[in-house]
């Protein structure tokens, strides 16, 4: 019985190790969740042009930062705010010379296409019973949201009471902006604080946006850079170059980012 099983099990191991070993070059990119659409396409183009396997790991920046701090090996790290990148640089995980801000993004309020709570302006968010989703404070989009609300609270038109009213309407704090967007797209909540870039071409039928006026808006800055532990430093540098090239910028713009 056991002997009969040994051969197939061995065969599986052999095949698995062969499959694992037959790698063309591989590039591991840890990427902020808000870049899911843009870097899905970016990675595909880079793969096709360079014959490199681009492995993308998308999650909230705070989540992928934790993964790096706990020993995950990657080549490129892309953060949705400076705070997490600065921390990784200070802790010695990054090749600090390679780190730079490559794009900006804007915060907007997104609502389901049929706008069930009839959100037309900012004051509507404070109406009792409006169901709002935000992010946990460690997630970049969560902390940008807090900054926007702080600006509103400091403005005499809205004031601290407004911020309180909005906060008490929050029904969930998501750990990644993609979770927030899909819940809004499903119509399960009335409004959410997200990025302009989250209204991707595929989602434009399901969600619409309410702009945040310039004086209350926050510009999100996205740094990227190479990790010290990178097993493929040349390829990582080339990928970063590609992201900053005209071709890369075009992809970012298509998804609603403002490359710098």
């Amino acid at each position: 019985m056991i002997k009969k099983l040994v051969a197939p099990i061995l065969a599986i191991f052999v095949i698995a190790s062969l499959a694992g070993g037959s790698s063309s070059e591989e590039l591991v990119v840890f990427c902020a969740a808000s870049l899911t659409g843009a870097f899905g396409e970016m990675g595909q183009i880079y793969e096709d042009e360079n014959g490199v396997d681009v492995m993308l790991n998308f999650d909230g920046t705070q989540a992928i930062r934790t993964q790096v701090e706990q020993g995950a090996i990657a080549d490129v790290f892309i953060s949705a705010n400076k705070k997490h990148m600065d921390a990784l640089m200070a802790e010695g995980f990054m090749d600090n010379d390679t780190v730079s801000i490559f794009t900006e993004n804007r915060m907007v309020v997104i609502v389901p296409a049929d706008n069930p709570a009839d959100i037309q302006s900012f004051s509507d968010l404070a109406e009792p019973g409006v169901m709002i989703i935000t992010g946990v404070k460690d997630a970049p989009f969560g902390s940008y949201t807090l900054q926007v609300l702080d600006k509103l609270a400091n403005d005499s038109t809205y004031g601290p009471k407004y911020r309180e009213a909005v906060m008490s309407n929050v029904i969930s704090q998501e750990t990644s902006v993609s979770h927030l967007v899909s819940k809004i797209a499903l119509g399960e909540a009335d409004a959410g604080f997200a990025y302009q870039s989250d209204i991707s071409p595929e989602l434009s039928e399901q969600v619409s946006k309410v702009e945040i006026p310039d004086q209350y808006s926050v510009v999100a800055e996205y740094p990227l850079g190479r990790l010290k532990e990178s097993e493929n430093p040349d390829q990582a540098a080339r990928f970063i170059e590609f992201v900053r090239s005209t071709e890369g910028r075009a992809v970012l713009e298509k998804y609603g980012f403002q490359p710098v």
Binding site: G60, Q62, A63, R65, T66, M131, I133, V136, K137, D138, A139, V170, I171, S172, Q173, E174, T175, K183, L186, G187, E188, A189
Partner: protein, 288 residues
């Protein structure tokens, strides 16, 4: 003389006498013992590491952190309500399944077991599609002013969904194990069906039911995927211990470790309790 003592001590002689089959049996025993040690170490090491890492990080200072206390209170509160609901609904249901046949029983049985093998995330999406405010049933509830998703009620719904099968399975087995002889004797003595159930069947099955309820409680306490999908993540309202562990893992690792330790301690106590109860159940059987 010395050599024969040596032989006796190390069993060489016995092997010679018992021949090849004895050697094989011993090798097998040693192999199995080794396997056991490996398996035990595989589970013990990560658990021990939780304690080792948190001792150096002073994780227990986080015990008073509001994130920790809120999550702990919410988890205990929701899991307790879940178990009460599971017992009230599950006990008659599993008695029915243990004692009676009805059309479609096979299908009902499979359906009941489905949440056990279904990934909890899938359960969460399914619950959202059903009870979310745009959901199949949820849109009518919403029209009537009732919202379930993203509330503490949703946490309980998710927990009942995933933990119910654990109770149903155990309760059914416990009822099936009650010998019909006792029930029939009581019936011939003139007791009604209801009376027989409460005075004969239920007392004999109690230990099994309790261990089923404890398993359901444990499953509810550990529930993550369905909850974060269906109930969202909000401190004090829907952020149970597993959700707080997940969230804090991305911010304050100390809080994460502290909650993880509490959950490990709970889980260990729960398993021990179930073991003690089932052993007692077995002893009762033997005595009977």
């Amino acid at each position: 003389m010395v050599s024969s003592q040596f032989e006796r001590r190390f069993g060489w002689r016995r092997i010679k006498e018992e021949g090849i089959s004895g050697v094989r049996r011993r090798a097998l025993k040693v192999g199995l013992a080794l396997l056991l040690v490996l398996a035990a170490a595989f589970i013990a090491l990560p658990v021990a590491s939780l304690f080792i890492k948190s001792a150096s990080g002073m994780a227990f200072q986080s015990l008073r952190d509001p994130v920790v206390t809120d999550a702990l209170t919410l988890s205990l509160f929701t899991a307790t309500i879940t178990v009460v609901i599971v017992i009230i609904l599950g006990t008659p249901l599993s008695y029915l399944n243990a004692r009676f046949d009805y059309p479609g029983k096979e299908i009902a049985d499979s359906l009941i077991e489905l949440p056990v093998i279904m990934p909890p995330m899938v359960g969460g999406i399914a619950l959202l599609m059903a009870f979310g405010r745009m959901g199949v049933l949820g849109q009518h509830l919403h029209a009537g002013g009732v919202n379930i998703a993203f509330t503490t009620v949703a946490v309980v719904v998710a927990q009942v969904f995933v933990s119910m099968p654990f109770y149903l399975r155990q309760a059914r087995i416990s009822f099936e194990d009650v010998d019909l002889v006792f029930e029939n004797a009581a019936r011939t003595l003139g007791a009604s069906r209801t009376r027989v159930f409460f005075t004969v069947t239920l007392p004999i099955a109690t230990n099994g039911l309790i261990s089923g309820a404890i398993m359901a409680f444990a499953r509810a306490l550990g529930e993550f995927g369905a909850t974060i999908m269906f109930a969202g993540n909000f401190q004090g309202r829907t952020q149970t211990m597993p959700l707080a562990i997940y969230t804090a893992m991305q911010g304050d690792l100390k809080i994460s470790l502290c909650l993880a330790l509490i959950l490990v301690a709970f889980s260990f106590a729960i398993i021990a309790l179930v073991k003690i109860l089932t052993r007692r159940m077995y002893k009762n059987d033997v005595r009977n």
